[in-house]
Amino acid sequence: MTSETMFTQSAALTMGVELELQILNSRDYNLAHDAADLLTVLEKIEHPGEVKPEITESMIELNSSIQTRHDSLLAELRAIRNALAEAARRLNLRIAGGGSHPFHKWSERRIFPTERFRHVVEVYGYLAKQFTVFGQHIHIGCPDGDSAIYLCHMLSRYIPHFIAMSASSPYQQGTDTNYQSSRLNTVSAFPLSGHLPFVQSWDEFTAYFEKMRMFRIAESMKDFYWDVRPKPDFGTVEIRVLDTPLTVERAAMMAAFAQSLAAYLLAEHPLKPLEDVYLVYKYNRFQACRYGFAGTYIDAYTGQRCPLKDDLFAALERVRPHSAALGATGALETLEQEVKAGTSDAAWLRQAHEKTGSLNDVVRMQSEEWMQEEAAIS
């Protein structure tokens, strides 16, 4: 076993959040190119967690530290948010959430000058610049590699749920895509996107990985752009289908749901991994991207079709005891109420556009929502 496939043990059910964010100018709210300056200023402002460059100079990535509870995660995300907002204000920049920038032109993007990012451009060409989309990744700690594989397969059943609850990329390149999350269409273009093969243990996975390396298709785990993937060096499973929500509050809520769901799956082992999940996988995923919670969901275990919304409510019911133990009851109740009321970030963005009639204004409101101006000043 090489260092790449050595599964670092981590405390079960710890969680961490990564948020890819948009850097905007304050003139017309197009994407700016100031990632490097922003990071320089941020170095001088004390904050928890970590903030890192991303593939283009218009993006920045915020990482939480390892957390065990929703409330402490939220507090930390808010502290990083405030520091980042303060740094942005000093440079007259704006920061926003959302899975896509509504009107930027991908051809105008510039690649952040590091070797890895240059390599990505060399391999993928224009896809690298089109990859200026913004996602939330949630890490869930796993005690060992086998449970990481189990968790990956079981979470695959819930990928549509995560897509629908985080969907915030209805606009791309200045037009309404009619999707709730258009961001994942960009991800799907990459040859190594998709899902984990149907391996049953960490050893089987290691064998698969070594084969891919022998074929020279992949060199490291980073080359797999899967929706859910094990992250052996962190000892986690990483959920990568979420759009970056419009606020850190929603981001913490998503993480709380993921943590409660993982707690339920790992503690109760309710079902065995089923290859049929991957037969309906793309259909379900598309429905969630296109229609959100109004989409159709096919349960591979029963063959039943239902609105995705109903399957989420059932899932919330199942994880309830575990969420209570993790202190996530409040967050999950809010989630349930929002889905019942039909509110979502994608809907919020479309309403903003209807109200203001201009995508520049939509992005301005997006940045006000993320930076929480009033809260920071008072």
């Binding site: 100018n25 700016a32 490097a36 300056d37």
Partner: protein, 403 residues
């Protein structure tokens, strides 16, 4: 009466539109040549074509012709200043006080250095102060248009534009005050000295304020349609250029305050973001051809040496001002030097004002007027290069990537 009355008579009269076309064509061709062949900013090409057509060259663009071209030049200037005003972000200056301090220091120190140098070279203090006040302003047109040409975006670009807007306003105010002082020397009361700058400042702000409110009300009524908003802004800009001339206000201050207020008063975000630069592109070309035409190479032979001293003193003052606050104002190390370089171009507008003032006061030091013109010539040619270098070096230019 002959049968050939329908034919045009020679010599052909000057037609402003035909002139506009010729200037535009000369500028476009020359600009493209400098860009492609010499890899210099197009603006340098525009200025060079003006120089070739003007009094230093073929002499085609003489004073009469320049009067015809005046209206296009003023519109070009109006558009540039409006865009610069839109970029002047008071809220930012309020948040980043170090940037505001930098702006103040840069103005004061460059004034002091130029003043000191000129007095050292036996220019009378009052006249030295006038020249120094001209030198305080960086050229809004050059900095903004080079930034546009490079599609530059980033901290050096944004900060240099804000500094340019501020030092232009400071220069106009200082210059007005000093010119009134000269008034006094040439028999005009002390009242003028106070009232004239006050009229310029308050009058320009008031006109800008009224125009900004009117624009926002109309924009609200027009609703969010970008073509309508573009037409609205263009109409307001052209109107204000004319109005400020009728009311004897400074175009620079009226347009800057209009641009600044229309942005800063727009709490409800009714005005859409309009790319006024694209509307103005053709006017900009004519603007720089005309600037080139005014320049006179002969000045260089007479006052070249003093001009070089003046430019050096100006650069030292501006650099020290910028560098003392660069590290406090949160930009990357090294950006401070590039920022001071980007302030190098000197304002053609201020230059024109000095010309006017020198003409109306017979006692004005002609050596000094020649020196300012020589400095303008040097900086109109070197300035665009300096800005291009600074913005490229800062990694903020956005030309086609070489991949």
């Amino acid at each position: 009466m002959t049968e050939f009355e329908f034919l045009p008579r020679f010599p052909l009269p000057v037609n402003p539109l035909a002139l506009f076309g010729v200037l535009l064509l000369a500028g476009v061709l020359c600009g493209e040549f400098t860009r492609r062949v010499l890899n210099l900013p197009r603006i340098t090409g525009y200025v060079l074509s003006g120089l070739a057509l003007g009094s230093s060259g073929l002499g085609l663009l003489d004073a009469t012709m320049r009067d015809y071209a005046r209206v296009f030049v003023d519109i070009g200037l109006g558009l540039v200043l409006f865009e610069l005003g839109m970029r002047l972000d008071l809220a930012w200056l309020n948040r980043d006080r170090w940037l505001a301090m930098m702006a103040g220091a840069e103005c004061v120190l460059s004034f002091a250095c130029m003043f000191g140098a000129l007095v050292w070279f036996d220019i009378s203090p009052l006249h030295a102060a006038v020249a120094a006040a001209v030198g305080v302003s960086s050229s809004p047109a050059v900095v903004l248009l080079v930034a546009r040409e490079l599609k530059a975006e980033g901290q050096v670009t944004e900060r240099s534009l804000n500094l340019v807007a501020i030092n232009s306003v400071v220069a106009v105010l200082a210059l007005t005050m000093l010119l009134s002082w000269i008034h006094q020397e040439y028999q005009s009361g002390p009242v003028t000295m106070v009232l004239h700058p006050l009229y310029l400042l308050l009058g320009s702000l008031l006109l800008g304020l009224l125009a900004a409110h009117l624009t926002l009300d109309l924009a609200r009524w027009l609703q969010k349609r970008v073509e309508q908003h573009a037409a609205l802004l263009l109409a307001m800009i052209v109107f204000l250029v004319g109005a400020s001339s009728v009311l004897k206000l400074s175009i620079l201050m009226v347009m800057l305050s209009f641009g600044m207020l229309v942005r800063n008063l727009d709490d409800e975000h009714v005005l859409m973001s309009v790319d006024t630069g694209r509307l103005g592109q053709i006017f900009y070309i004519v603007l720089f051809v005309a600037i080139g035409a005014v320049l006179n190479v002969a000045n260089l032979a007479v006052s070249g040496a003093l001009a070089v001293v003046f430019i050096a003193a100006r650069f030292v003052g501006k650099s020290v001002g910028v560098l003392s606050f660069a590290h406090l104002s949160g930009i990357r190390p090294g950006s401070g030097g590039l920022l001071s370089l980007a302030l190098l171009p000197m304002s053609g507008g201020a230059m024109a004002m000095t010309l006017g003032s020198a003409a109306s006061y017979p006692g004005f030091d002609t050596r000094l007027a020649g020196m300012v013109l020589a400095a303008s010539l040097l900086l109109d040619l070197a300035g665009p290069l300096a800005v291009q270098f600074a913005l490229r070096r800062a990694g903020e230019s956005h030309e086609e990537e070489k991949t």
